[in-house]
Symmetry: C2
Subunit: 303 residues, 2 copies
């Protein structure tokens, strides 16, 4: 199976490549790629037609499209984000379609498609109402993929990812970076002030769990757009669990809530995902397991 992966050098991409490389021919696209990753490497911009032609020249059974200009970066430069998030998604799928026969296309969408004004329960019927540029771009990508799937051109699935932890501490253009930084700070025994309250509620998933879900999506045949199951965690409970497992005091974490951040990332309601559950997707089980997986992943990457 020949699988093209965009964003293959990114945080989720690396975990996914590691999981898939033993059993598939991988074609990796990103601005930076780990030399140790097996497969064809295409380094550059995914909107570059020459790069695309080269990457898809050997055929395409599946496209896993993870690359994106994320929330904060898209707000700062909406035009550049449009080029990658909207046009780039169309160009990639167009190439996949020509290189394969009704290829599998899995698109990393985001819970940002729901916007701020979520109802008290989010389920499979929740309407798209993005407010961030990033969320609007993801919703447009979902629509395009649904239409091509309805036409029989691709077998498309958009998976809305919750907050994935723990991303590297370096600036990633994500407004939600605090969800990951709390792991880094407590692991290092350092102070951190976060832009949400102790009572903030978030939807989280470990990077290992999301890589498992993405790998599963290659073969489960689910189509359409669906929200991945996610663990709903209160920020104070997350801090207490990380503190317990790292042996550092929870008091290292201070709060200076910013209303806009709290509204976008810290007031998430109850989530029900019957379609994704039925398709075999899963969350991390409980907060202790989520934290243990995240810390194990961090220890492996940065011993």
């Amino acid at each position: 199976m020949r699988i093209v992966i965009t964003g293959a050098g990114g945080f989720v991409g690396r975990a996914l490549v590691e999981r898939l490389q033993a059993n598939a021919d991988l074609v990796l696209i990103d601005h930076v790629l780990d030399r140790a990753s097996s497969g064809e490497h295409h380094i550059g911009d995914l909107t570059n037609p020459e790069l695309l032609s080269a990457a898809f020249a050997g055929g395409c059974d599946a496209l896993l499209h993870l690359a994106t200009v994320p929330g904060g970066a898209a707000e700062a430069n909406p035009d550049a984000a449009w080029r990658v998030n909207v046009d780039g998604t169309m160009m990639l799928i167009d190439h996949a379609q020509r290189a394969g026969s009704c290829p599998r296309v899995v698109f990393a969408s985001s819970i940002a498609v729901f916007g701020e004004a979520m109802p008290s329960l989010v389920d499979d019927a929740c309407p798209l109402a993005p407010k961030l540029v990033y969320g609007a771009h993801k919703a447009m990508g979902e629509l395009w993929i649904d239409a091509l799937t309805r036409r029989g051109d691709i077998s498309g699935l958009s998976l809305r990812l919750p907050g994935i932890v723990a991303r590297p501490a370096a600036a990633s253009g994500m407004i939600s970076a605090f969800m990951s930084d709390v792991f880094h700070a407590l692991r290092a025994g350092e102070h951190l002030t976060v832009p949400v309250s102790a009572g903030a509620t978030m939807w989280l998933m470990s990077v290992d769990q999301v890589a498992m879900n993405l790998a599963h999506s290659l073969t489960n045949g689910a189509i359409g757009a669906m929200t991945l199951p996610a663990l709903q965690v209160r920020f104070a409970d997350l801090v207490a669990e990380i503190a317990g497992q790292t042996g550092h005091p929870a008091s290292l974490i201070q709060h200076a809530p910013q209303l806009s951040v709290e509204k976008a990332f810290g007031m998430l309601p109850e989530l029900r995902t019957p379609r994704a559950n039925e398709a075999g997707f899963a969350h991390d089980g409980d907060t202790a397991n989520l934290v243990a997986r995240v810390l194990a992943h961090l220890n492996q990457e940065q011993p």
Copy 2:
């Protein structure tokens, strides 16, 4: 009030310009424009940055975005259609936003956003499920406009137009051209074979009625995306009414139904549009009035 109109030289555009020109400063954009139309003329491609800069240089209170690559043409060349329908829509709104202060943006969307598999009743809750490339592009435009409206950047309204009659007989790239051609044929006393059955049901609106609705949209404050009310007409009833009003026999019209056309344009279910009705939009009232308006319009344009 300074109003930028794209597709201003087109069929709907000309009727709208005629209605608005006495009471507003119009800025007209199209590949071809009627010299007699008052206002600034910008002739060329709406994705040309220089044309856009010039058109919006004098400010923008409202943008009426009618230009599009329609159904048949978009199927034939999806990439070119994307450039106009998706990228062009974004570029126009971007310019409007910079040139105005939360400008009014009215986007001519289409009932093609609903796709083929419509439920037995279409109302304001009907999900977007486009199958034509054109319908997918329109749905993506709706989403982008909704997001910008939610952000407070524009006051955006997407109006889903039904079949507008009677478009000029010349090829327009529209698969639904038969709806208009039946007027031309019966008016001229000529034979016509149409790709739908006598029992086909369509949603129709006269060009005068759609121009009234678009003019009304400038000031009614409605936002979001909504389906315009439309007259639901059985094809045989339409033919009988046109035959009666033109004095030519209905038997001039023959049927050679094509399943794909019948499914896309001839099997439209009941339509309810409470949001649009509340916002003051209207259809033509009854088939006799629709036909009378269309024939009067044709007699004025081609006496």
